[in-house]
């Protein structure tokens, strides 16, 4: 069988393109450590959130050196706590759940984005940089007030974070 030289080139470039696409995604996973939102948490009772030790009191907690955990509850129509205050240059794990219907949790303009399902805990870990303020939007239609459902994520300096912690506790 004779294959035209251009066609061979076309086949070769197609293979290069496929390998490059797989390669870049692999690089993303290995280099910067991009991960997916996984089903890593066990289910909880969506109606019994008031008794859940994490979600009865939505908050941000230090769990290690420079590691923080934020317990966030989405509801019709908002997020608790508002704002979610986390320190700069730290690793923050957000555990988000819903006490009513399916919501979305998207830190606007960033890659932090997950569905929030009642009875499930969506867990995403992110690394914060400089102090800044982000908006949070619900990106799953959740009822009449969906369009006003928003939250805030404030990344503050380490010292400011410690001061706030002192005030509220």
């Amino acid at each position: 069988m004779h294959i035209h030289a251009y066609e061979k080139l076309w086949l070769a470039l197609s293979i290069v393109l496929i390998l490059a696409l797989i390669g870049t995604v692999t690089y993303g996973a290995v280099g910067p450590g991009v991960a997916m939102v996984a089903d890593s948490q066990s289910t909880i009772d969506a109606g019994g959130i008031d008794e859940d030790e994490r979600f009865s009191e939505p908050r941000v907690e230090q769990v290690g050196e420079n590691e923080y955990e934020a317990y966030v509850v989405a509801y019709q129509f908002g997020f608790e706590p508002t704002p979610i205050v986390v320190p700069a240059n730290s690793t923050v794990t957000l555990q988000v759940t819903s006490r009513d219907v399916i919501h979305g949790f998207e830190v606007a303009g960033t890659s932090a984005n997950t569905m929030v399902v009642p009875g499930e805990v969506s867990e995403i870990t992110v690394e914060t940089d400089e102090p800044t303020e982000y908006g949070i939007v619900c990106n799953e239609y959740c009822g009449a007030g969906h369009h006003v459902m928003e939250g805030k994520l404030h990344v503050v300096s380490q010292s400011e974070f410690e001061n706030r912690g002192g005030d509220s506790e």
């Binding site: 069988m1 004779h2 294959i3 035209h4 251009y6 061979k8 080139l9 076309w10 470039l13 393109l17 490059a20 696409l21 870049t24 995604v25 993303g28 910067p32 450590g33 991009v34 991960a35 997916m36 939102v37 690793t91 794990t93 830190v107 303009g109 960033t110 890659s111 932090a112 984005n113 867990e123 995403i124 870990t125 992110v126 690394e127 914060t128 940089d129 800044t132 982000y134």
Partner: protein, 58 residues
């Protein structure tokens, strides 16, 4: 194998006819598409996606 084929084509298929079909315009166009595709992917993945804040790492 490639070489073998080339020789084959030259001797038995009369090669000339087949090799005269050189759609260089189409090749150029596809080449331009290819470059656009690669540049777009680099931009979408490395600049827009990895360049954003709060990349999910776990």
């Amino acid at each position: 194998m490639g070489q073998n084929e080339a020789v084959h084509a030259g001797t038995e298929d009369g090669g000339g006819d087949a090799e005269e079909f050189d759609p260089i315009g189409t090749l150029t166009l596809i080449g331009i598409y290819f470059v656009i595709l690669v540049l777009a992917w680099v931009y979408i993945y490395f600049v827009e996606f990895l360049g954003r804040d709060l990349v999910i790492v776990g």
